[in-house]
Amino acid sequence: MKRVALWAPLAIFALVFVVVISGLVKPGETVVRSAMVGKPVPDFALPAMVPGKPGLSAATFRQGQPRLLNVFASWCVPCIAEAPQLLRLKAAGVPIDAIAVRDTGTAIAGFLARNGDPYARIGSDSASRVQMALGSSGVPETFVVDGRGIVVKQIIGDIRPEQVDEIVQAVRAAR
């Protein structure tokens, strides 16, 4: 066995060590990001969730105006935390639509009554199909969609107060 080969195991260990250190120092993402950012909103048409508020379809997002698409549910606790931020966004003139995942009309009506209603439209996604088509893996999540129906940005988790301005900027820039 050549002299060089004897040092190979140490070299291999050093390589493993480097890999492992990079895992410690730069921990991998704990959330699953959607791969649909930069792509068009997939085609869908969801029925209405509550009376008086229309259902949601992909066509809404191709009308030339950037909109927010909020994925939420009445059983989702962080959604309550982000409700004030959504109302602020609505007040700032940002149109917001929603899909309610695995939910019922009465529960959603109750949620809106308790936490406010920033939504123009709410679609009922009872089997998470549209949630999956968007590449969303949990609630709440918010997508910024530009006027041509392309997904521009994904916000995972509830919207924090500090993020509101940044989202308004993103919506204006997505024209």
Binding site: M1, V32, S34, A35, R102, T104, S126, M132, G135, G138
Partner: protein
């Protein structure tokens, strides 16, 4: 009667985590009628990752998102779609994270090449242990 009341109480007293109020999608927990299709769906489900779990396939998970993904897989297999196409659809939504079978790409070719490479390297190392055949 008391048994039934107690049963109902237990169901209600079950851990009060935030749970959806709707029943699971059809086909989340119901098998396809055609055994060949069900086997194909099962095989695919065992290679798709549950996105909200700590390292389980959607076949092995109690999570609601996993149930919905199972329903999606079964419905599409039932309609005749190929497993590879369903996997590709999910990858186009969630990236390679969702499949336990890493696709061969610029990033993963060392991974797939490793078995052969290791075998060859090992044979080369082992050569030195053998006696040179006397000519």
């Amino acid at each position: 009667m008391r048994g039934r009341v107690l049963t109902a109480l237990l169901l209600v007293a079950a851990p009060a985590t935030a749970q959806p109020v709707t029943p699971p999608a059809p086909y989340a927990n119901v098998q396809l009628a055609d055994p060949a299709k069900e086997a194909s769906a099962k095989a695919l489900m065992e290679t798709l990752r549950c996105l909200v779990c700590q390292g389980q396939s959607i076949a092995d998970s109690d999570a609601d998102m996993a149930a919905d993904m199972r329903a999606l897989v079964r419905e599409r297999i039932d309609k005749g779609e190929a497993p590879a196409s369903i996997r590709a659809w999910l990858v186009s939504r969630y990236g390679d994270y969702v499949t336990y079978d890493p696709p061969l790409s610029a990033l993963t070719w060392p991974l797939w090449l490793a078995p052969i490479a290791l075998l060859l390297a090992g044979i080369w190392v082992a050569r030195s242990s053998f006696r040179r055949r006397a000519r």
